[in-house]
Amino acid sequence: MTEERCSQGEKSGQDGSWQPKVVAFLCNWCSYAGADLAGISRIQYPPNIRIIRVPCSGRINPVFILKALQTGADAVLVSGCHPGDCHYVSGNYYARRKFEIFSRLLDYLGLEKGRVFFSWVSAAEGENFGRLVKHIVDEVKKLGPANKLVKTIS
């Protein structure tokens, strides 16, 4: 992991071929299925995304987001079912409060806007998922590689 990050860092410094890494936490019931639909519908979107399937957006502990940013992600996406559609009835409602507070905290700390994204994507919204990923990758490319919170090993 460390070696990979170092080599990527060098690449971004020298020939400008840096590609952002986006870690996406997608809920099993909606957003993961939405990403799947984007795939089987042959919808084109940037391949910079690494999907981690979670049971529910309510499963997301903000520590996951921090850890991702610290260990090499340039951006993090968390996506779940639309409010009212949670497979577990209310998981995303609890998640929404957590995300709202946490995103405001990150902003307050001075982390750039455009590193952490929260969204609702249903299983039927393959196209929206493609657009979302494109939007995120565009934003992160504007910001460049993450340099805040990133743990550098000297």
Binding site: V63, Y93, R96, R97, E100, R104, Y108, E112, N128, T152
Partner: protein, 321 residues
């Protein structure tokens, strides 16, 4: 409010609670190693009740000793201590029927660091209180008069609940609340800085932090048996004092207190490096209050902000595509 009479009443109440067998333990304050310090007191017999003191040096939040306590316990509680006790009850850390909250009104405690700037603390032999003035006797026989209001801890300056909001026994009179124009004024002025300046500030803070975890130990609501920071499988947090690791700890410490922190200021006072940890906590209090109209520690029935939801909660963080 500080007076000899209140101190005597505290001793009497503690003594009778223990004598009548209503509680097994009274948590209070006793004289510390210097006249201007107090130490937590664990009073278990009626005879010991006379050790209890009550003065503006009673800075510890004694609710830190409540979680998972099995005995019946009475706690001598200022406004913030009582609120922390209420949160501990809400979160099932102590059973309400084993807890007696002995509420008091507090006009604010003295910040040790402010006092040390004003006088040579080692030289103090005794103190006296009269209204807003603190009289200090020095070793050389001198007298120093200081205004209490100039020595108050930061958290006391923006205190909104000076009297214990929930109490089984209340000693003395409830106090009118302090006129605080905007309890979040410090947060607002910090928010007005650029994001680079804010980041710089927190990086400076992270550089100073030595990760002694005194903030965590002093906090009445950091009661997890195993803190996520200490976990090694998986290891979520780096253990070093590199700024990124330190900041990650402070982010999660503050976040875990979102909707729970009662702003007692125990974390900042415990910090040996003098870091203003309340700057993070206060921000989250502000957001929780503005977004969910929730102030922790005032009601046993209400659900904590992050333990409940409304279907129409604001969602400004959501990206729509």
């Amino acid at each position: 409010m500080w007076s000899e009479e209140i101190t005597r009443n505290i001793q009497t109440v503690a003594e009778s609670l223990l004598r009548e067998g209503k509680v097994d333990l009274v948590l209070g304050y006793q004289a510390g190693t210097s006249p201007v310090r107090t130490a937590p007191a664990f009073i278990r017999t009626p005879q010991e009740a006379s050790l209890l003191v009550w003065n503006p040096f009673c800075e510890n939040n004694l609710s830190v000793y409540l979680p998972r306590r099995k005995e019946r316990v009475a706690i001598i509680a200022k406004g913030c201590d009582a609120r922390a006790a209420v949160v501990a009850v809400q979160e099932n850390q102590i059973s309400r029927d084993r807890l007696v909250i002995v509420g008091l009104a507090c006009s604010g405690i003295i910040d040790r660091r402010r006092l040390a700037l004003a006088v040579e603390v080692d030289q103090i032999r005794g103190f006296s209180l009269a209204g807003d003035s603190l009289g200090l006797e020095t070793e050389s026989g001198g007298q120093v008069q200081l205004e209490l209001s100039g020595l108050l801890a930061d958290s006391c300056q923006t205190c909104t609940h000076r009297s214990a909001p929930i109490a089984d026994i209340f000693i003395g009179q409830r106090m009118p609340e302090r006129e605080v124009e905007d309890e979040f004024a410090q947060v607002r002025s910090f928010e007005a800085l650029s994001s680079q300046e804010r980041w710089r500030h927190f990086m400076d803070m992270a550089e100073k932090c030595i990760r002694c975890y005194a903030c965590r130990s002093a906090c009445p609501l950091c009661y997890c048996q195993e803190c996520i920071v200490d976990q090694t499988q998986p290891q979520w947090f780096g253990k070093t004092t590199a700024t990124e690791d330190v900041l990650a700890y402070h982010i999660m410490r503050a976040f875990h207190l979102a909707g729970r922190c009662v702003d007692c200021g125990a974390c900042s006072r415990a910090c040996p490096m003098g870091l203003d940890l309340r700057l993070l906590n206060k921000k989250l209090q502000k957001e929780v209050k503005e977004l969910y109209q929730y102030v922790p520690g005032l009601s046993l029935e209400e659900m904590p902000a992050l333990g409940t939801y409304r279907t129409d909660d604001p969602q400004t963080c959501i990206t729509e595509k």
